[in-house]
Amino acid sequence: MNRNDELKDFERRGRILDTDNDEAFRSFIREARVVLEKTDGDIADILMVSRTTFNRWINGKSMPHPLMRPSVVSRILDRVGAKLSARSTYAYSGGGGGMVAKSYGS
Protein backbone atom coordinates (compact mmCIF):
# COMPACT_ATOMS: atom_id res chain seq x y z
CA MET A 1 0.00 0.00 0.00
CA ASN A 2 1.51 3.35 -0.96
CA ARG A 3 1.41 6.36 1.32
CA ASN A 4 -1.67 7.95 -0.23
CA ASP A 5 -3.60 4.70 -0.08
CA GLU A 6 -2.55 4.26 3.54
CA LEU A 7 -3.85 7.71 4.44
CA LYS A 8 -7.10 7.17 2.51
CA ASP A 9 -7.63 3.78 4.14
CA PHE A 10 -7.08 5.30 7.59
CA GLU A 11 -9.47 8.13 6.74
CA ARG A 12 -12.13 5.68 5.55
CA ARG A 13 -11.83 3.60 8.73
CA GLY A 14 -12.03 6.76 10.83
CA ARG A 15 -15.29 7.78 9.20
CA ILE A 16 -16.98 4.49 10.13
CA LEU A 17 -15.24 4.00 13.48
CA ASP A 18 -17.49 2.86 16.32
CA THR A 19 -16.32 5.39 18.91
CA ASP A 20 -18.25 3.58 21.67
CA ASN A 21 -15.93 0.63 21.21
CA ASP A 22 -13.07 1.41 23.61
CA GLU A 23 -10.55 -0.90 22.01
CA ALA A 24 -11.31 0.20 18.45
CA PHE A 25 -11.04 3.84 19.49
CA ARG A 26 -7.78 3.29 21.34
CA SER A 27 -6.33 1.41 18.40
CA PHE A 28 -7.34 4.24 16.05
CA ILE A 29 -5.63 6.98 18.06
CA ARG A 30 -2.53 4.83 18.48
CA GLU A 31 -2.41 4.34 14.73
CA ALA A 32 -2.90 8.08 14.18
CA ARG A 33 0.62 8.68 15.49
CA VAL A 34 2.06 6.40 12.86
CA VAL A 35 -0.13 7.48 9.96
CA LEU A 36 0.36 11.18 10.64
CA GLU A 37 4.05 10.67 11.49
CA LYS A 38 3.64 12.60 14.75
CA THR A 39 4.90 12.27 18.30
CA ASP A 40 2.59 11.78 21.27
CA GLY A 41 3.07 15.46 22.09
CA ASP A 42 2.12 16.51 18.55
CA ILE A 43 -1.05 14.41 18.62
CA ALA A 44 -1.92 15.72 22.09
CA ASP A 45 -1.57 19.27 20.72
CA ILE A 46 -3.80 18.45 17.75
CA LEU A 47 -6.41 17.03 20.11
CA MET A 48 -5.96 19.91 22.59
CA VAL A 49 -5.36 17.60 25.52
CA SER A 50 -2.37 17.21 27.77
CA ARG A 51 0.35 14.77 26.78
CA THR A 52 -0.25 13.00 30.10
CA THR A 53 -3.88 12.52 29.15
CA PHE A 54 -3.04 11.27 25.66
CA ASN A 55 -0.55 8.79 27.12
CA ARG A 56 -3.19 7.58 29.54
CA TRP A 57 -5.59 7.07 26.64
CA ILE A 58 -3.23 4.98 24.57
CA ASN A 59 -2.08 3.00 27.61
CA GLY A 60 -5.64 2.13 28.53
CA LYS A 61 -5.67 4.01 31.83
CA SER A 62 -8.42 6.39 30.80
CA MET A 63 -10.33 7.45 27.71
CA PRO A 64 -12.01 10.58 26.48
CA HIS A 65 -15.66 10.70 27.44
CA PRO A 66 -17.75 8.81 24.84
CA LEU A 67 -19.42 12.08 23.87
CA MET A 68 -16.02 13.64 23.20
CA ARG A 69 -14.68 10.85 21.02
CA PRO A 70 -16.33 11.91 17.73
CA SER A 71 -14.65 15.32 17.99
CA VAL A 72 -11.31 13.60 18.71
CA VAL A 73 -11.69 11.47 15.59
CA SER A 74 -12.79 14.50 13.62
CA ARG A 75 -9.66 16.45 14.58
CA ILE A 76 -7.48 13.54 13.51
CA LEU A 77 -9.34 13.17 10.22
CA ASP A 78 -8.94 16.90 9.55
CA ARG A 79 -5.17 16.38 9.75
CA VAL A 80 -5.32 13.32 7.52
CA GLY A 81 -7.35 15.32 5.00
CA ALA A 82 -4.84 18.17 5.15
CA LYS A 83 -2.00 15.73 4.63
CA LEU A 84 -3.74 14.19 1.62
CA SER A 85 -4.39 17.64 0.16
CA ALA A 86 -0.79 18.67 0.70
CA ARG A 87 0.44 15.50 -0.98
CA SER A 88 -1.92 16.02 -3.88
CA THR A 89 -0.79 19.64 -4.35
CA TYR A 90 2.84 18.60 -4.03
CA ALA A 91 2.40 15.82 -6.55
CA TYR A 92 0.65 18.01 -9.12
CA SER A 93 3.28 20.68 -8.81
CA GLY A 94 5.91 18.18 -9.77
CA GLY A 95 7.22 17.22 -6.37
CA GLY A 96 5.38 13.95 -5.97
CA GLY A 97 7.59 11.83 -8.07
CA GLY A 98 6.05 11.16 -11.41
CA MET A 99 2.60 12.69 -11.62
CA VAL A 100 3.80 15.58 -13.74
CA ALA A 101 5.90 14.96 -16.81
CA LYS A 102 9.11 16.86 -16.77
CA SER A 103 11.40 17.54 -19.63
CA TYR A 104 15.07 17.88 -19.18
CA GLY A 105 17.51 19.34 -21.57
CA SER A 106 16.50 20.39 -25.07
Partner: protein
Protein backbone atom coordinates in the same frame (compact mmCIF):
# COMPACT_ATOMS: atom_id res chain seq x y z
CA UNK B 1 -17.66 52.37 22.40
CA UNK B 2 -18.67 51.13 25.80
CA UNK B 3 -20.00 47.81 24.52
CA UNK B 4 -16.85 46.88 22.67
CA UNK B 5 -14.44 45.29 25.09
CA UNK B 6 -11.28 43.45 24.19
CA UNK B 7 -11.88 39.71 24.44
CA UNK B 8 -9.89 37.51 26.74
CA UNK B 9 -8.58 34.28 25.32
CA UNK B 10 -8.41 31.09 27.37
CA UNK B 11 -5.83 28.59 26.18
CA UNK B 12 -4.02 25.41 26.96
CA UNK B 13 -0.53 26.90 27.09
CA UNK B 14 1.69 25.38 24.37
CA UNK B 15 5.39 24.74 25.14
CA UNK B 16 6.49 27.70 23.01
CA UNK B 17 4.63 30.06 25.38
CA UNK B 18 5.93 28.48 28.60
CA UNK B 19 8.61 31.12 29.17
CA UNK B 20 6.12 33.96 28.78
CA UNK B 21 3.68 32.23 31.13
CA UNK B 22 6.51 31.74 33.62
CA UNK B 23 7.44 35.42 33.49
CA UNK B 24 3.83 36.31 34.27
CA UNK B 25 3.62 33.75 37.06
CA UNK B 26 6.95 34.88 38.59
CA UNK B 27 5.87 38.51 38.72
CA UNK B 28 2.70 37.61 40.63
CA UNK B 29 4.47 35.08 42.85
CA UNK B 30 6.98 37.76 43.90
CA UNK B 31 4.07 39.85 45.17
CA UNK B 32 1.93 37.09 46.70
CA UNK B 33 3.39 34.87 49.43
CA UNK B 34 0.58 32.34 48.95
CA UNK B 35 1.58 31.68 45.37
CA UNK B 36 4.38 29.16 45.24
CA UNK B 37 7.10 30.47 42.93
CA UNK B 38 7.69 27.91 40.21
CA UNK B 39 10.99 27.49 38.48
CA UNK B 40 11.17 28.00 34.75
CA UNK B 41 11.84 24.29 34.24
CA UNK B 42 8.73 23.37 36.20
CA UNK B 43 6.54 25.68 34.15
CA UNK B 44 8.11 24.34 30.97
CA UNK B 45 7.32 20.81 32.14
CA UNK B 46 3.70 21.76 32.85
CA UNK B 47 3.36 23.31 29.40
CA UNK B 48 5.19 20.44 27.76
CA UNK B 49 2.77 17.99 29.32
CA UNK B 50 -0.21 20.17 28.39
CA UNK B 51 -1.10 20.70 32.04
CA UNK B 52 -0.86 24.49 31.96
CA UNK B 53 -3.79 26.76 31.16
CA UNK B 54 -3.87 30.50 30.85
CA UNK B 55 -5.86 33.56 29.92
CA UNK B 56 -4.51 36.38 27.79
CA UNK B 57 -5.86 39.69 26.63
CA UNK B 58 -6.74 38.54 23.12
CA UNK B 59 -4.91 35.66 21.46
CA UNK B 60 -1.54 37.37 21.56
CA UNK B 61 -1.88 39.95 24.27
CA UNK B 62 -0.75 40.29 27.87
CA UNK B 63 -1.19 37.40 30.25
CA UNK B 64 -3.87 37.91 32.88
CA UNK B 65 -4.07 34.45 34.47
CA UNK B 66 -2.54 30.99 34.64
CA UNK B 67 -3.28 27.75 36.47
CA UNK B 68 -2.45 24.08 36.12
CA UNK B 69 -4.25 20.74 36.30
CA UNK B 70 -1.82 17.98 37.22
CA UNK B 71 -2.60 14.29 37.59
CA UNK B 72 -1.06 12.52 40.61
CA UNK B 73 -1.03 8.86 39.72
CA UNK B 74 -0.31 7.52 43.21
CA UNK B 75 -3.15 9.44 44.82
CA UNK B 76 -5.57 9.12 41.87
CA UNK B 77 -6.06 12.87 42.06
CA UNK B 78 -6.30 15.69 39.58
CA UNK B 79 -4.95 18.78 41.31
CA UNK B 80 -6.13 22.17 40.17
CA UNK B 81 -3.63 24.71 41.41
CA UNK B 82 -1.26 27.59 40.89
CA UNK B 83 -4.06 30.03 40.15
CA UNK B 84 -2.40 33.37 39.47
CA UNK B 85 -4.50 36.27 38.32
CA UNK B 86 -3.40 39.85 37.81
CA UNK B 87 -5.23 42.37 39.95
CA UNK B 88 -7.05 44.43 37.29
CA UNK B 89 -9.12 41.41 36.20
CA UNK B 90 -9.77 39.87 39.61
CA UNK B 91 -13.35 41.09 39.88
CA UNK B 92 -14.38 40.11 36.36
CA UNK B 93 -14.85 36.40 37.00
CA UNK B 94 -11.92 35.28 34.87
CA UNK B 95 -10.66 32.86 37.54
CA UNK B 96 -14.10 31.25 37.79
CA UNK B 97 -14.31 30.72 34.03
CA UNK B 98 -10.75 29.41 33.88
CA UNK B 99 -11.21 26.99 36.80
CA UNK B 100 -14.58 25.71 35.56
CA UNK B 101 -13.24 25.19 32.06
CA UNK B 102 -10.18 23.33 33.32
CA UNK B 103 -12.36 21.07 35.50
CA UNK B 104 -14.72 20.42 32.58
CA UNK B 105 -11.77 19.62 30.32
CA UNK B 106 -10.45 17.13 32.88
CA UNK B 107 -13.86 15.44 33.18
CA UNK B 108 -14.22 15.25 29.38
CA UNK B 109 -10.76 13.91 28.69
CA UNK B 110 -10.30 11.55 31.63
CA UNK B 111 -13.10 9.01 31.51
CA UNK B 112 -14.30 7.31 33.61
CA UNK B 113 -14.01 9.60 36.63
CA UNK B 114 -11.96 7.20 38.70
CA UNK B 115 -10.08 10.05 40.33
CA UNK B 116 -10.83 12.94 42.64
CA UNK B 117 -10.47 16.57 41.61
CA UNK B 118 -8.67 18.39 44.40
CA UNK B 119 -7.13 21.70 45.39
CA UNK B 120 -4.62 22.41 48.15
CA UNK B 121 -4.67 25.78 49.88
CA UNK B 122 -2.33 27.30 52.47
CA UNK B 123 -4.12 27.47 55.85
CA UNK B 124 -3.79 31.26 56.00
CA UNK B 125 -4.72 31.90 52.39
CA UNK B 126 -8.29 33.14 52.16
CA UNK B 127 -8.21 34.24 48.51
CA UNK B 128 -9.24 31.06 46.67
CA UNK B 129 -11.75 29.82 49.24
CA UNK B 130 -14.84 31.74 48.04
CA UNK B 131 -14.30 30.50 44.48
CA UNK B 132 -13.70 26.91 45.58
CA UNK B 133 -16.85 27.06 47.69
CA UNK B 134 -18.83 28.53 44.79
CA UNK B 135 -17.69 25.68 42.53
CA UNK B 136 -18.82 23.13 45.12
CA UNK B 137 -15.44 22.10 46.53
CA UNK B 138 -15.56 20.78 50.09
CA UNK B 139 -12.84 21.39 52.66
CA UNK B 140 -12.00 17.93 53.97
CA UNK B 141 -9.43 19.12 56.47
CA UNK B 142 -5.76 19.69 56.94
CA UNK B 143 -3.17 17.44 55.33
CA UNK B 144 0.59 17.32 55.35
CA UNK B 145 2.20 17.79 51.98
CA UNK B 146 5.85 17.25 51.14
CA UNK B 147 7.21 19.73 48.65
CA UNK B 148 10.71 20.74 47.61
CA UNK B 149 10.43 23.52 50.23
CA UNK B 150 9.83 20.94 52.96
CA UNK B 151 6.85 19.52 54.78
CA UNK B 152 3.87 21.85 54.82
CA UNK B 153 0.35 21.81 56.14
CA UNK B 154 -2.38 22.50 53.57
CA UNK B 155 -6.14 22.55 53.58
CA UNK B 156 -7.41 19.96 51.13
CA UNK B 157 -10.51 20.61 49.05
CA UNK B 158 -12.24 17.95 46.96
CA UNK B 159 -14.94 18.29 44.34
CA UNK B 160 -17.84 15.94 45.13
CA UNK B 161 -19.83 14.26 42.36
CA UNK B 162 -22.80 16.41 43.30
CA UNK B 163 -20.91 19.47 42.03
CA UNK B 164 -21.12 18.27 38.44
CA UNK B 165 -24.77 19.33 37.98
CA UNK B 166 -24.17 22.96 39.03
CA UNK B 167 -21.09 22.99 36.80
CA UNK B 168 -23.18 21.66 33.92
CA UNK B 169 -25.89 24.25 34.56
CA UNK B 170 -23.30 27.00 34.59
CA UNK B 171 -21.88 25.86 31.23
CA UNK B 172 -25.36 25.67 29.73
CA UNK B 173 -25.97 29.28 30.69
CA UNK B 174 -22.48 30.52 29.80
CA UNK B 175 -22.53 32.61 26.63
CA UNK B 176 -18.87 33.60 26.51
CA UNK B 177 -19.40 36.86 28.37
CA UNK B 178 -17.90 37.68 31.76
CA UNK B 179 -19.62 38.93 34.89
CA UNK B 180 -19.78 42.53 33.64
CA UNK B 181 -21.98 41.28 30.75
CA UNK B 182 -19.85 42.96 28.13
CA UNK B 183 -16.33 41.50 28.19
CA UNK B 184 -16.00 38.42 26.03
CA UNK B 185 -13.78 35.44 26.78
CA UNK B 186 -13.01 33.03 23.98
CA UNK B 187 -11.28 29.69 23.69
CA UNK B 188 -10.34 27.08 21.11
CA UNK B 189 -11.55 24.36 23.48
CA UNK B 190 -14.83 22.88 22.29
CA UNK B 191 -17.35 24.23 24.78
CA UNK B 192 -20.28 22.47 23.09
CA UNK B 193 -18.63 19.11 23.70
CA UNK B 194 -17.85 20.08 27.29
CA UNK B 195 -21.52 21.01 27.79
CA UNK B 196 -22.69 17.65 26.46
CA UNK B 197 -20.22 15.73 28.59
CA UNK B 198 -21.12 17.59 31.78
CA UNK B 199 -24.84 17.11 31.17
CA UNK B 200 -24.34 13.37 30.66
CA UNK B 201 -22.11 13.04 33.72
CA UNK B 202 -24.51 15.02 35.90
CA UNK B 203 -27.38 12.76 34.76
CA UNK B 204 -25.28 9.72 35.55
CA UNK B 205 -24.45 10.97 39.06
CA UNK B 206 -28.13 11.59 39.78
CA UNK B 207 -29.13 8.12 38.61
CA UNK B 208 -26.76 6.45 41.05
Amino acid sequence: MDNEQAAFFLLQVPPKLADAAHAFHSKLASENPNLKPRKLDEVRQFADAGDLFGVRLGRDGEWVGVCYAVYHEQELEYEIGGMALCEPVQEKGVAAVLTRTVIAQVIATEYPMSYTIVAYVNPDNGDPRPLLKKLGFENIGSVTVTTDSGVMSKDKFTLPASAVRPLSNWFNAFNGVLRDQKTRIETDLDLDVLREVLRAEADKVEML
